[in-house]
């Protein structure tokens, strides 16, 4: 168990009688980037706040790198870097003043502070704005300051709560690149309600719904696991949709513009449905020129889970 940087057992938290998180088990292994997916209000922030030690759980136990967070909060918190949903910035300070302060309260030894601040600014792309007041920075830069604050003391675990929310597409790309590079030196948990984000960043995904763990699995296991909900395919010499349905066993095929068709795979389709479809298209001489998954498999799982439908693949792999 020593390999796990975070071990949370049976976490529960209620606010005024309403359970926000119920009996949640969660682990984070060294080197993982864990995507924490859920609808708004599913309990993502509550869970992260409990892991960061800013909110005491109603029940349950958390250990950070083998240290009990509730019994020895000071030494456990040294291993953590946390970016809350709203970055905790002091607008009246300059970037480097603020980061200096954060380094001091995180117990970075005095001679190393200068270097730590410099390194964090470089990693997060803040060089050039370090003497500006945080108040005057754009939202994207403020988010970077928030992340810089979390990595200053070189923690083993990073907890990022919705790190890309409220940013424009270019800023989102930047922050994602940043998180990916942080994942090389730290283990990361980040929460999001965006599927694409989790899919592009995480090595493992956890879906939480109504405060309970709904799904947990490495992302690499996904593609062969289940087919997408629908595909778009381009066929130059397509027969009538009815004939194609009869021959391929698809649930439904609707023609779109320019030789494209939308294909819904049958309910019980295996993960290799797209390959088999293409093979058949080639054999039949339909001249396929493209195939795109429209709804990703994670999206399907997510939507099924959050709509209250229980898919078969509920049990998590160890």
């Amino acid at each position: 168990m020593a390999e796990n940087l975070i071990d949370a057992h049976n976490l529960s938290r209620s606010f005024g009688g309403r359970a926000a998180v119920r009996n949640l088990d969660l682990t984070l292994e060294r080197g993982e980037i864990l995507g924490f997916l859920g609808l708004n209000g599913a309990g993502k922030s509550t869970t992260l706040r409990m892991l960061a030690g800013t909110l005491a759980p109603s029940a349950g136990r958390i250990t950070i790198a083998g240290i009990d967070l509730l019994n020895a909060p000071k030494s456990a918190k040294r291993k953590l870097g946390y970016l809350p949903e709203q970055p905790p910035l002091h607008p009246e300070l300059t970037v480097s003043e603020y980061l200096r302060f954060c380094a001091e309260i995180h117990g970075v030894p005095r001679p190393r502070i200068r270097h730590a601040v410099q390194a964090a600014q470089e990693k997060t792309g803040l060089t050039g704005v370090e003497r500006r007041l945080i108040r005057n920075l754009s939202k994207g830069y403020q988010q970077r300051v928030g992340i810089a604050q979390a990595i200053l003391h070189d923690p083993e675990v990073l907890l990022l709560d919705e790190p890309t929310v409220g940013l424009d597409p270019a800023q989102i790309q930047d922050i994602r690149t940043l998180i990916r590079s942080l994942g090389e030196a730290h283990s990361v948990i980040f929460s999001s309600h965006l599927l694409a984000e989790v899919q592009s960043l995480a090595t493992r995904v956890i879906i939480i719904h109504e405060g309970q763990l709904a799904w947990s699995r490495p992302l690499t296991a996904l593609p062969s696991d289940r087919p997408a909900a629908s595909y778009r395919t381009g066929l130059r010499k397509a027969p009538s949709p009815e004939r194609m349905v009869a021959q391929t066993g698809a649930r439904e095929i609707t023609p779109l513009e320019g030789g494209w068709f939308r294909i819904a795979p049958p309910q019980d389709a295996a993960g290799d449905f797209p390959e088999r479809f293409l093979e058949q298209a080639v054999r039949e001489g339909w001249a396929p020129f493209g195939l795109v998954a429209e709804e990703t498999s994670l999206e399907t799982i997510f939507l099924e889970l959050t709509r209250g439908v229980t898919p078969n693949a509920m049990e998590s792999t160890p």
Binding site: F101, E104, I105
Partner: protein, 250 residues
């Protein structure tokens, strides 16, 4: 770590115009009162010379100045302490402190020492006025020291109450008004004790004002020092309890 917190607090205070305005206004008003007292003293000086054991310049100029200072501090300290915690609550920066490896004691001490350092500056500015008299006359330094000690203890007590009330709310103005209300109430509570009814000595003991008057006469009494220290400590402990409660409930 406590030092880092206190330093940040001081820095944020000076980054806003509030701190500067407070320093300027307090110095201006007290400077005016000081000049009036000096003027009064100069006018009555010839008559004072007739008495062998008459009151000196320290008792007639410096002590009234310190008394006026307390009234002004009563108005001003709530404005200085109002943002200590409430602003952080509003900006959600408390999360940063809670996620850092800091104990509740570190937190309370850091915040408190930050504001105390500012009040120390204010006290120093006030002290410069009587010090300027030393150019032309001799002061009774024992009396001045007693007055300064009393003034410092009063400031410390005011600030502790302000810190606690600031930790309760998200709105600085609510913190300011409740601090002002509390301090004023504890100020005037002794008014009810003018007579000799039952319990009047309890009311008098509870009053913030009564404990200062002994310092103004140059008396340093353990009971007065204990009163201010206990008052301060009680509010600091309650502030710590409020911080702890943030983890537990919402």
């Amino acid at each position: 770590m406590i030092r880092a917190l206190a330093k940040r607090e001081l820095r944020s205070l000076f980054a806003s115009p509030l701190a500067w305005v407070v320093l300027a206004v307090v110095t201006l008003i007290l400077g005016w009162i000081f000049l009036l007292q000096v003027d009064l003293f100069l006018r009555i000086m010839p008559r004072l010379a007739l008495y062998r054991h008459g009151a000196g310049v320290t008792a007639l100029v410096v002590m009234p100045l310190f008394h006026s200072a307390i009234v002004i501090l009563l108005l001003v300290i709530p404005l200085l302490t109002m943002r200590l915690v409430s602003e952080e609550r509003r900006q959600k920066t408390l999360e940063l402190l809670y996620a850092a490896p800091l104990s509740t004691l570190d937190l309370v001490c850091g915040k408190y020492l930050g504001i105390l350092a500012f009040l120390g500056t204010l006290l120093f500015l006030i002290f410069l006025m009587p010090l300027s008299l030393e150019l032309g006359t001799h002061l009774d330094w024992g009396l001045v020291a007693a007055g300064l000690l009393g003034l410092f203890l009063v400031m410390a007590a005011f600030a502790a109450a302000g810190l606690y009330l600031s930790s309760l709310t998200e709105q600085p103005i609510v913190a300011a008004i409740s601090t002002f209300g509390l301090l004023l109430f504890l100020w005037i509570i002794a008014w009810a004790a003018k007579g000799h009814g039952p319990g009047s000595h309890i009311l008098r003991y509870a009053s913030l004002l009564d404990h200062f008057s002994a310092f103004g006469r140059g008396e340093i009494r353990v009971s007065d020092i204990a009163y201010y220290l206990i008052f301060t400590l009680v509010f600091l402990v309650m502030t710590g309890r409020r911080f702890d409660a943030d983890h537990l409930e919402h």
